[in-house]
Structures are given as C-alpha cells and as structure tokens.
Symmetry: C3
Subunit: 268 residues, 3 copies
C-alpha cells in the first residue's frame, strides 16, 4: 500500500473506532488538544493524578505525555502511566516542550525517555536536537537555532533511542532510524497560534492508536495536521483568531480523499 | 406560571442580578465555563485553593463542583467549599466527570455526595448511572452505554440522594424524585466541542442562583443551553470551530422571548 | 518624541525583536494570554514550577505575575522568580486578580509587592484600590465599586510603592506618581470575554520588554490593546464569541500606523 493510501485508511479507522487518547499534558493547551482530538475523530481524556493515571491508561488507545507546564509530581505521574502503558502495549508519544530551556525540563525529559519506552518523540528542531544530545538553541519553548542536518539528527537519535523521531518545522522530518520521511504539508499560520505543536503530537497519538508502525503513525498524524493547517490558512487571510477556528473546522471536515489528493510526503 | 415563562423570567433575573458562580472545576474547561458564565449574564470566579474556597463561596450565588481533572487536594477543597455553601444556603451543583472510569473518580464523587448536600447532579448517562449505583459504561469521560430506562435512574437516584438529577444526552432528563422533565432542546454539534457538558452544568448553576426550586433551575439551565446550541448549529454547517464560537454568541444573544418560542420541555 | 510615536515605535520594536514574556499566571487564561502574546509579536512561555522559574526568567524580556488561580506554592514561585528578575533587571508586571475577595489573595498580593520590585501593577478599580489601601468593592474578581477619584488612587499608590499603577476600566488610568495618562481606547465588548484584563497585563509586559520607562510601557500596552478591542468590536456586532476571535485578529493585524491614527491618550 502506498503511504497516502495507508494514511487515508488510518484516518477512516480513527473515525470508525474512536480511540481514547489519554493525555498527561500542559495547562496551556489542554482545551486545545482535547478539541483537536474530537475533530480528528478520537476521544480525549485528560487525567494527571498519580492516583488514577495507571488505571486510566488501561482504556487508552495511546498515551500522550507533554511537559509544557511540568512539575515534579506530574513527571512522576507521566512515568507511572508510561510504564503501565508499556506493560499493556499502549503506544506512548512524548512531546518534550521546552527541553533545554531549564534543568528541570532537560532532566525530566531524559528521565522519561530512560524509564519509558517511547514510540514517537515529537518536537521542534531545538527540542529534539537537545534531547538527542545534539546542539540546539531554544528561547523559552521556541526553537531559534539554525539546523544544518536535521535528517541526521532524526535518524541518529532514532537509532540511539529506539523511538521514532518526528521534528516539526517548515518541513517535517520523521525517522525510525531506517526510513526517513519529509513532509511538506503545513502553513506558516500554524506558528501564530499557541499549542499547534502540541496538537501535532496529539494527531500522532490518534494515528498510533490504529497503526502498529510508529513511523507510519507519525507520518500520518503530521500529514493530516499539516493538510488541515493548509486548508485553514486558505480561508483565514493571515488572521490568527480566524485561523484557529478554521483549523478545527478543517480538521473535522478532512476526509480520506483529501489525504489522497493533498499529502506531500517524500521518503528518502 | 407555566415552565417556559418561569425559565424566561429566570433568565431575565440572571441578567439583572449578575450572580457570582464559584467554580471549582477542571483545567480543560476553565476558560470555557468562565466565558459561558459571562454569556449567560452571570459572573464567574474560579478559585480552588483550600485556603480561600470557604471565603470565596460566601460571595457566590451558587457553587459548581466538577471533577474533570481531580486530585486529592482539590477534592478536599471541594468538600470544604461545599460544606460552607450548605451552611450559607448557597446551592451546590455537582458534575461527576468520568466517574466510574477510575477508583479515584468513583471514590471522590461518592465522598462528595455523602459529605455535601448537592442541589443538582448533572452528568451523562454513564456517569449518573454509575454514581447512582445503576449499571453504566464509560470510556474515559464519554458515556458509551445503551441505557434502557434513564427516567427510572434519574427518579430513583433523586429519591435516594435528595438531589435533583439531570442526565444530559440526545434528550435531557431531569427529576427531583417526584417531577420528571424531558428536554428536547440541543443539537448533535454540542458533542463536537469539549466541555459542553461542563457548560451545561454551569448553566444550571446560573439558574439556581436565582431560582429556589432545583428541579426548575436544572430544567431552565438545560433548556437555555440547548436552545443556544440549536441556534449555533443553525449557522455552523457541521464545523466544530465555527460552532464553538457561535455557541457563545447564541447564548449571549438569547432573550427571554427565545425561551417562550423555542423551549421544548415535556413533564411526565 | 510624542507619546503616539513612541508607542508606534515600541510596537515595531516588539515585532522586530520578539521578546520572551515569562508568565506565571492563572489556569483560566493561560491559553488566552499565550495567544495574545503571539498576536502582539512576542513569544510566550508559561512556567511555574519552583524548580525552574528562576532559570526561565533569565531568558525573559519581562516577567508577568498573575494571581487569578493562586495557591501558596505558586505564590512562592512568583516571589522567587520576581527576586531573580529584579537581580537581572527584567521588569516585573503584577496583576492582583481578585485581591480583596479573600485573605489568601490580599495577603499574597501584599507579600509579592513587598518582596519584589514591581515595574507596573495592572488591575481594575477595586483591585488597585484595595491593594493600595484605599476603599474598594469586589465581587469575586469583578470590580463593583463606584470610584470617585481613581487618578488620586493611581498617583498616591504609585508614590507609595514606587511602581507604575495602571487601572483599567471604561477609561484607563496610568500613573508613575508624577505623570498621569488617561486612555480612552477600548470597547465595552472587552468585558464580555474572560481574561481580557489579564491580556491587557500581558500587553504591558510586551511593551516593557522594549521600553525602559514603565509609565510609557503601561500606556503603550493599554493603547494597543484598547485599539485592538475597538477594531474587533467594529466587526463583531455584540457577539462575544465572534469578538473574541476578532480580538486576536485585530491585535495581530495592528500596525504602527494604526497607533498614530487611533491612539486616544491624554496626559494630565
């Protein structure tokens, strides 16, 4: 099956099966990623208490960990939920928001990837580079570095870690250490709304709930979200508030045929 | 006075008196329920710290408790605020989000209803059924069961608990153990946006701030919210982002005459 | 340089330099103020953990403290971050949400202003009056008092505290104890959306990142936000959901020429 066809089929499958995406995520985007989950066709649950995360993840199609507004107890909940997810074969997706900006973020992210088997890490160029031990520059939670060879970063980090690595930016790069994909979908307007990176991670979470290959799940999530972003930008005229609303609309209205027509993926 | 007239009068009263609705609620919908409160014509306050909840509830027209993203300390704050509200005759509305999904949720919800006198419990079919000791199936925080006799569930649970029970779904059911109302307002688009259940609870909170009969308050809140949902759906064309924006618009623009014309309530 | 010209120049400077605005803020508006920051042209970071705030503030153009959903540990983080900001000459902006409503809020706000050098305090009439030791009436987090002489409140409190004081309302008042500005920009629709006060504080934070005079920064932020509110109201027709979206659009599309044409500031 060609990549596009597999993504289109996975999107249909998400909508038919409505997997539950368990998020342990940040307070800035919690509402946004819940709505993005619904628009994709899955069901969101946000549950963070140490007392319930292991039980909640038992119902989940995937577990999504995001350290955007972390604190030590939340990291403990993430690790406990992640270990349980590993035990139950629930794929875990990790978004290392702002790693490198503070010791707490760097140490917590490293602890999470050392204690939990992660199917996909999704971050911007700086986050992924820093987490993988490459160079990277970060300003708060924004990547500001100039990165010469992100394909190598993704591939090497994937090989080191055993996770699929997804780096989002102007062009998205995904590698599982063997395969490499470059995704040209998306629009600059996505950077005008907070939490679109976190939503991209959620999309990967949706695809991994119906797709056993993490590489394909990451590619599927990013193509789908990028396409929704393009369609939203086309009707928004550089207005971020309007774009934000249109992004949910586009995502919800996206059909498998749109993937067949609009996916811009290249495997290297 | 006919039901519709009473709801219309209560809506006018909310707008004239602007009661303060004290929410101790979840992080996913906090912004949404605050905005829904403003659109209804009331004033929101979100205050959760154990150190201040008893003092804050002293200014409130109603207290709204919602366990969507609970943790043990928050449950303690809820119980302390609830007891104080009982002492001050401030009505308490309870939204048992996701009860049944985890032991933490089930135990916390049972603790809250055993220690606090609740005027109205509002939940989906699964949440209310499980909390009332009936059967129910839940997936994360979504009800997935097939429920044969929700009227009986509402009525019996109301009689057991002394609270008015409101079950929202395709048709909303409200009972105080004696009276039963079926509400046909609403639209399927409401399920495409996260937090609309929580907003429905907030609406009940708004009505109970001006209405002494919990049954009438619950009916008023659900009719009003359902009508706003219908009006929003009429201009949104299956687009969840657009619907979400239109829902706030419709709610703010709703006038008592709309209730007189559009309320679809049946008492059994 | 005339005031308008200076504001216009500062807006251009924010967009050219994209300062990082470190927020330690409330859970209700975290997403809103992050998006408002992006629309202004700056970069947001929300980081609250005691373990990371001092490190994070090192990257920041300004630090914004907001006690809307405070709890004791968060106040500790605010004070630690504030002291570090003082050490690094990073301006601190303080939004004393709901001060006066509870002892926790009043004590925490007073502790913050006594331990941290604040460049600008931004609040509504009640909050500022109460914090400054004048009379004020508050209902939850809404100002309900009738205030005869807010100019005196602002001026005296500024002289007492050494901070610039900004009181927002129908007319915004700013004083550093010596200069006084009255700002007539804004629209009543701003009160229909939760968090617009917090966004105003964020705007001041953006301007202070490029402007050394706190008085000018406060005036610049409030003029800019008021203008965005006016433009949004002009296309929203009393619909709060539509206004909310248009507010982000207007802010992002605002250019320095709009300031030159539309600023309504009067110095007394």
């Amino acid at each position: 099956m060609e990549i596009k066809e597999e993504i289109a089929a996975d999107l249909a499958k998400i909508r038919a099966t409505k997997p539950l995406l368990h998020h342990i995520t940040n307070m800035v985007v919690m509402n946004e990623t819940a709505n993005a989950t619904l628009c994709l066709g899955a069901l969101p649950v946000m549950a963070h208490a140490r007392e319930e995360v292991e039980e909640m993840v038992g119902f989940a199609g995937t577990l999504i960990l995001n350290i955007g507004t972390l604190y030590p107890e939340l990291v403990e909940s993430m690790i406990a939920a992640g270990k349980k997810a590993n035990e139950l074969n629930v794929p875990v997706i990790f978004d290392p928001v702002g790693v490198g900006a503070t010791k707490l973020r760097t140490d917590s992210a490293k602890k999470i990837i050392s204690e939990v088997n992660i199917s996909v890490v999704r971050g911007n160029a700086a986050e992924v580079s820093i987490l993988g031990g490459f160079e990277g520059k970060i300003k708060g939670v924004e990547s500001i570095g100039g990165y010469s060879n992100l394909i190598n970063v993704a591939k090497e980090f994937a090989n080191q870690s055993g996770s699929t690595i997804a780096i989002t930016g102007k062009v998205d790069i995904v590698s599982d250490g063997r395969q490499i994909a470059k995704i040209y979908n998306g629009d600059a307007m996505l950077a005008t709304v907070t939490g679109t990176g976190c939503m991209a991670t959620t999309m990967i979470g949706g695809f991994l709930a119906v797709q056993t290959d993490p590489f394909m799940g990451a590619v599927g999530g990013l193509v789908t979200f990028g396409l929704a972003g393009e369609k939203a930008a086309a009707v928004s005229g550089k207005r971020p508030g309007t774009f934000h609303v249109a992004l949910y609309d586009s995502l919800a209205l996206l059909v498998p045929e749109d993937i067949m027509k609009g996916a811009k993926v290249e495997t290297v």
